[in-house]
């Protein structure tokens, strides 16, 4: 079980509990605005872009090459960017805070 907090682009805070699956699926299942997950979680659409809280980078680890490449030219990406379909929910993520990235 992990508690994960999303901060939306209009500064609303949504805290959810998940046990399995990806962070994207948890967000989509609970209608977190700005997390669409159009491709179903295979790193093809980049519609689940989040910024990891600066204090929580150890929980999530680093982005994979494909995530970095998919966000390479994204105006809203930074060094804490992740595609949250690639974040598998485990106890390690408990307490994680994610800022939903803006999109065009």
């Amino acid at each position: 079980m992990a508690k994960i907090t999303f901060i939306t682009t209009d500064d609303k805070t949504i805290t959810l509990e998940g046990t399995t699956g990806s962070v994207m699926q948890l967000a989509v299942d609970n209608s977190v605005p700005g997390i669409d997950g159009d491709c179903g979680g295979v790193c093809s659409c980049a519609t689940c872009h989040v910024h990891v809280d600066p204090d929580h980078l150890e929980k999530t680890g680093e982005a994979s090459e494909i995530e970095e490449d998919m966000l390479d030219l994204n105006d809203y990406s930074n060094e804490r960017s992740r595609l949250c379909c690639q974040l598998e929910i485990t106890e390690k993520l408990d307490g994680l805070v994610l800022q939903v990235a803006e999109s065009d």
Partner: protein
């Protein structure tokens, strides 16, 4: 004129897959206060279709692991989801739809997201053959998995070398099957991609132990003692315990046609996804629409188009003036290869292939019409895909000699034409 007060209005959506479901949620987000009623004949909660032939087939997951939205999401957004129910007619005069159970449903706005169904070719013997399945629904996958588990020889013939057929072949191979793909044309993916990509995928499958045979027109199937023998026009025969049919789709146009809506190569819609009836919209695979970037009318079978038209229709019904203006994109996963495509390559006059240095397969094919970049196919190369997307969107003219030079990294500023 649209009214802002939608409380007493009813929006009915026929088809609850990517387009229909995304539309329903988008419409709620746009502020629609009235009823949103979805109908689909598939009894399962709406699910992602692309994984069906890929990761989902090889997994043991139930469809609940692959849903577009959770059951609660529909309740939370007050979206009325009616599954296992077919709409049999549209009455435009009194603005109602007739359901397969005999009931009527009134609408103020109607959205057709009817999609397409797999084409089953009229091959003599196909009706009596054992374990013949298309692959478009969760139930199709369940049937294939079940037949696969029950089969001792696990010989599978895939009829049709399009993306669905090839992905299914790769998945079944991964599961341990003996897989042969029979393609009628002289190359696989003939309808959807270029000879360069066709050769790449043929080689990829050969390397992974899947036989791809082209120029194989299936003319008959004989079934004896639970074994199907597939007969090709050239006399070749293949034994199969399971046959997967992936020869393309037929657009579900009947309802629209019978309702007298304008049909071309799909349900004709304008830039707001509206049909020739101002109260009826159409979205997704079933539409024939104008693409401003490519300046022609097209029909697309893709998640991108389903989602983008869903958003456009929701905005239009909410009284906004949106314009569909998307660059098409697609993807396919086979073995350890991820193909990402952006743009439409049709009409290209030259191509440029760029292989990245380093280990593993990583390349991109860039399609040009003279100096105009039309499309990019990127294999294990998301960087090329996003760069191509940006260049196509911005209509940037790029320096082809720089693009061809693999010592120059794929960065926007590296590839621009230098103005003197």
């Amino acid at each position: 004129m649209e009214t802002n007060n939608t409380k007493d209005h009813i929006c009915v959506v026929i088809g609850a897959s990517h387009a229909g479901v995304n539309f329903a949620f988008s419409l709620r987000k746009e502020g629609w206060e009235g009823d949103i009623i979805l109908f689909d004949k598939d009894p399962e909660l709406p699910y992602h279709r692309p994984p069906l032939s890929k990761a989902y087939l090889t997994s043991e997951d139930g469809i609940e692991a692959n849903l577009l939205k959770s059951a609660d999401s529909y309740k939370n957004e007050n979206i009325n989801l009616n599954l296992g129910l077919t709409v049999s007619a549209i009455n435009r005069n009194d603005k109602t739809v007739v359901l397969s159970d005999g009931n009527m449903q009134k609408y103020d706005k109607l959205v057709l997201a009817t999609g397409a169904r797999p084409l089953i070719p009229p091959i003599p013997g196909i009706d009596n053959a054992r374990h013949v399945y298309p692959l478009r629904t969760a139930n199709d996958v369940e049937n294939i998995r079940h037949a696969y588990r029950a089969s001792s020889n696990k010989r599978i013939v895939v009829i049709g070398g399009g993306y669905i057929g090839l992905e299914t072949a790769a998945s079944l191979k991964k599961m341990g099957g003996i897989v042969t793909v029979l393609e009628r044309e002289e190359r696989i993916l003939a309808r959807v991609t270029t000879p360069e990509m066709s050769s790449f995928f043929k080689q990829l499958h050969a390397t992974n132990g899947v036989d791809i045979l082209t120029g194989k027109n299936v003319v008959g199937i004989k079934t004896e003692d639970h074994v199907n023998t597939i007969i090709c026009e050239d006399g070749a025969t293949f034994e199969a315990d399971i046959i997967v049919v992936g020869v393309g789709i037929k657009v579900n146009l009947e309802l629209a046609k019978e309702a007298g809506l304008h049909i071309e190569n799909g349900i004709a819609v304008d830039e707001t996804a509206c049909t020739n009836d101002e109260n009826i919209y159409a979205i997704g695979d079933c539409t024939y629409h104008y693409n401003p970037r490519y300046k022609r009318r097209i029909r697309l079978e893709s998640v991108q188009n389903a989602v983008d038209q869903a958003k456009v229709a929701a905005a239009a019904i909410s009284g906004k003036k949106p314009t569909y203006n998307s660059i098409p994109w697609f993807w396919s996963d086979q073995y350890d290869v991820k193909l990402q495509m952006v743009g439409l390559s049709e009409g290209y006059t030259s191509i440029l292939q760029r292989e990245e240095p380093g280990e593993g397969v990583k390349f991109s094919i860039w399609y040009f019409k003279d100096d105009e970049l039309l499309a990019v196919d990127a294999v294990n190369n998301a960087k090329a895909y996003v760069l191509g997307t940006k260049f196509i969107k911005d209509a940037t003219t790029i320096d082809k000699s720089k693009l061809a030079d693999i010592t120059i990294p794929l960065k926007p500023k590296n590839l621009l034409v230098e103005t003197v």
